[in-house]
């Protein structure tokens, strides 16, 4: 091999979106960068480059046959941040090719917004602003009849991946009792985070604020439905931060519309939401248009994590920032591609 190709095929991202000039220079120091960002890299270009390719950044289709054409390939780095069925994960593992993605890039901005929303729901911030603009505000104690203090209240998390962990860290000064439901984790991991491992029903019935951070899998679609919302305490808060698919959305809206709970959601079954969707008129619902993760620093984190791990891999070291695709579990993930840009 005389060349060291770095194949960059980042759609729906672009290189400028995910890399600051500084990170891009680090990328260029690792090899000869070939980019296709106005369209998916054409098959003939991919196939011509593979024999000399050491790294792929992007969602290029990589079946077993293509992997076999890429004897120097060290890593495929998905910059979409969801593992898709575009790679033969088992074949990649068999050949010692790392398949990784900077899955945690969006965790920090989403967790920050989730705390803002949790306080907002508890203390009625957005609602009070709306009433004030309508000339219907109350003052002092009268304005707090339906509020609760977030400090010291009980919090329940559904899903304790990167997002849940960031959120748990941000709420530390609030001294909440925190219960966590995550069937993919042993109790030890939850206890180390000074939280209580709990069943889904316990999380729902014991928490004044419930935040959903779980991804969608083939097994958990709509797993929070009418029965589950009924378990929640009247007046408690529900934050839907990860994927709309984990809840039965009509049942969710019913629970908010009836006044049983208050809620915030950053995700919707169909995005963009239809202009006449009645979701836009529910008073107890804080609306966020899939916007809590898509900050420019989060996109830059994708590139920074991807490049840092690529540098390690080229030195023969294991990646430490990105998540590895596990052939067994990748199959369970069903995230449909979501374009945050």
């Amino acid at each position: 091999m005389t060349r060291r190709i770095i194949l960059v095929d980042p759609l729906p991202r672009t290189l400028d979106l995910i890399m600051t000039p500084d990170v891009r220079r680090r990328l260029e120091r690792m090899g000869e960068v070939v980019v296709s960002e106005d369209r998916t890299m054409p098959d003939e270009v991919v196939e011509r480059l593979l024999p000399e390719t050491v790294l792929i950044f992007g969602q290029t289709a990589m079946d077993r046959a293509r992997l076999e054409c890429a004897p120097h390939l060290k890593a495929i780095i998905n910059v979409e941040t969801n593992f898709l069925p575009n790679v033969d994960y088992q074949a990649a593992q068999d050949r010692g090719v790392h398949v990784i993605t900077p899955a945690s890039a969006f965790a920090a901005p989403v967790a920050e917004a989730a705390l803002g929303m949790a306080i907002d729901l508890a203390r009625g911030i957005t609602k009070a602003d709306r009433l004030f603009r309508d000339g219907r505000e109350s003052y002092g104690l009268a304005a707090n009849r339906e509020t609760f203090r977030f400090m010291g209240s009980s919090v329940g998390l559904i899903g304790f991946g990167d997002l849940g962990r960031q959120f748990r860290e941000l709420i530390c000064p609030f001294r909440n009792t925190v219960r966590i439901f995550d069937p993919w984790l042993p109790a030890e991991v939850i206890e180390r985070a000074e939280a209580i491992p709990a069943s889904l029903d316990e999380v729902l019935s014991e928490s004044r604020t419930v935040a959903v951070f779980a991804g969608v899998t083939s097994e958990n679609q709509n797993f929070i439905g009418a029965r589950e919302f009924a378990l929640m305490q009247p007046g408690s808060s529900f934050l839907l931060m990860s994927r709309a698919g984990v809840v039965d959305f009509p049942a969710f809206l019913d629970a908010v519309r009836s006044g049983h709970i208050r809620a915030a959601t950053d995700v919707f079954p169909e995005e963009p939401v239809a202009a006449d969707d009645p979701v836009r008129q529910i008073p107890g619902l804080l609306l966020s248009a899939h916007r809590t993760g898509g900050t420019s620093d989060a996109f830059h984190a994708i590139g920074a994590m991807a490049v840092a791990d690529a540098e390690l891999i080229l030195r023969g070291l294991p990646p430490v920032l990105c998540r590895r695709a596990d052939p067994a579990t990748a199959a369970r993930l069903r995230s449909k591609p979501v374009d945050l840009s």
Copy 2:
């Protein structure tokens, strides 16, 4: 003395507002409780009781003459939480009568709301909800063109009393660079809180979020005006959490209306705000009707702190939860009584 009177004269508070049943029982264990809460305790009642009074909870007028009629009086505990000119502070000190108030009772709920509002302004939460309801929402990156991450951003505090300290503690996980202006404090106190002592101008010009927690004194009225707002970075946030009197309010509204800064305010020069006040229509202003402190737990904290310190005083120990009136500085404080209930 055969009786031990505890004189309770709590208006504008009531005993039920400020004491849970549990705390009230502790109050009653200290002596014979005489309460007047439908009106200020009449002079003749006060004067009849003073010779056997050990504690006063409330804002009863206590000039030197009355103090001389109360030989067993150990403490006057203001439950308004602002020192007013109702007491001859020097005479009380001369007689060894503690004059104290649970000044920090509202700090925790205000600090919590301030963090919610700081994240709200940075990430555009309330504004995005309003746009969504109007059918004008954007998604993902497009919805974040004017946002900034609160995490890691620069924060400036004006005033570092109980409120500022609570806020500083709550933002610890956000790893902000924090600058503090408080002319009543030595640099050591600010540095111990892992913050940078700074001038007012530095706080304003270097911070992406500025939060005002200072009380009003005879010296600092309107000390943040047009010149000061002009020092702020375009697009930065301003939170007014303590007293409207510390800012030049028209200059403040101009700075927001022009789009130079975004802001939240919990206080207004006149409360309630007039129905047709144009403040209600400023898009970049998050409106809160003097409601961030007035939660029921904050009122209960008044009673709990007052009773706990009274118990210590009756045992001959110094109070530790309430603030002591300092004759010299009490004169500087000009807070007009604000009724949060």
Copy 3:
């Protein structure tokens, strides 16, 4: 008054011991400094200077008569850090003269050493070093038969002043269950520090490590004796960090010598300890010659806190770093002067 005298009479301290050049320059900016540090300032000098004195740094005798000769005096700042009977505290208060001392100056170095000693006792660090030097060391698990993990173990504090608070902060990452006995404090203060208010007996019987941070008063001398040591769990640790007088010292040594508990002490009934004192041979006792507080940075903190508060006082503001003498409680304190230098 044409001069503004600052009278400095710091024995047993010296000005160089307690002030860095920087702090000394701040002192000199406040007035005309007159120092006597080879001997206590002679009466005739004191009396000549008092009419023009604004600040006293030191332990100068200040009875009512002298106070009356000092019409411009704003503060007496004890740099010994213990209030002594040299001042008429009531008369000073009556005249509005602040009497303060930087009592917390030694808290930080003592707390740091206390944590080192707590881990040392739990894990057997000094003892293992001694065995190793004697050629009697064990390795691995065999060397840990009598150790316990400090992480997660129960800790009890006796006294929760500056020292106890610093210690509580340092152990936060260790996630101990912390019980605190402090009869001068309401439960609220202890609960805010995420600890459990407890009786002395509970602290002793429930804690794997007990640390004594209480000062001596006229009421608590020798309050931890044979009965109290018997309450402790076998193999638990006892740290004596404040004053020897709070324990019945012979009973303490018996409890250690018998092997019932392990212990560390920084204080002794007589200092220096006699050359032939059998305390030097007790294997389970970690010995420290009243040295945990006396670091040079602690002495410098005395001067820095004293000068910072003096600056505030001269501006008409209340001091915030030093402790105020309370005429009522000053009488209870019985600390005999201890010279740490």
Copy 4:
């Protein structure tokens, strides 16, 4: 397969050493447990069981041929906590067999002891005890001439794996400036831990306390030698907590003996140390006989982490507590087996 064998071959551990009764019951619920702990499991037994084995706990030799005889094997869980050449890691990965080890089990007790030792060296705790027993103690400031405050001082870490991270967390309240050298990690990981990525030379020359937490690899043996010790500041502390092989041991002892640095070590080139080894007489060296990790709770953590991850693996989920063997990097690790029991 009619049986589900769990093959337990834990030497040099025993099952009782690494599992509490509770954890053992969880082990037994996963299958039929076959244990050999008086000797390594004989070949004929292993080979007879493999066809029905689902899990191996221990260091059983597993070459490619044996792996092929174990069609139901899901995981090999090394309970030695060091990956050894007993497994064909590539063959295991190819067959989807997890090879993992609870590598972090010893991190918590070692980090705790390291903090105790860091404070000990800074403040002279063990040394002061020795002087006191010899009748040569000093008091107060005189006893602190060679001490430094650990609080606020500069700290350098060499190696930032589990151990370094635990240590970094424990020292948070001490507000040190922390520099970290770890060539296996990108700067991002170090910066997230609020530390400064630094070269080895910077860590050595800028830190008042240097702690070595790095494991030995084929590349880093003796990488800290005379040149490196000379870079350290006079009077600074050096803690050797991981493997003796990372330092040039004679050069290390010279640096301590000469008085240039003070040090603590938990590891030695030959263990047990010879009775007449002069290392036993070096005054500035705190001696620990490879005992900081070997606490009973650490051994129990091995079993608890191993069983928790085995439970996940049997449910088709990825392990989350143990470290995975990476065929590429396993080859670099050269830890010779160390028996902590």
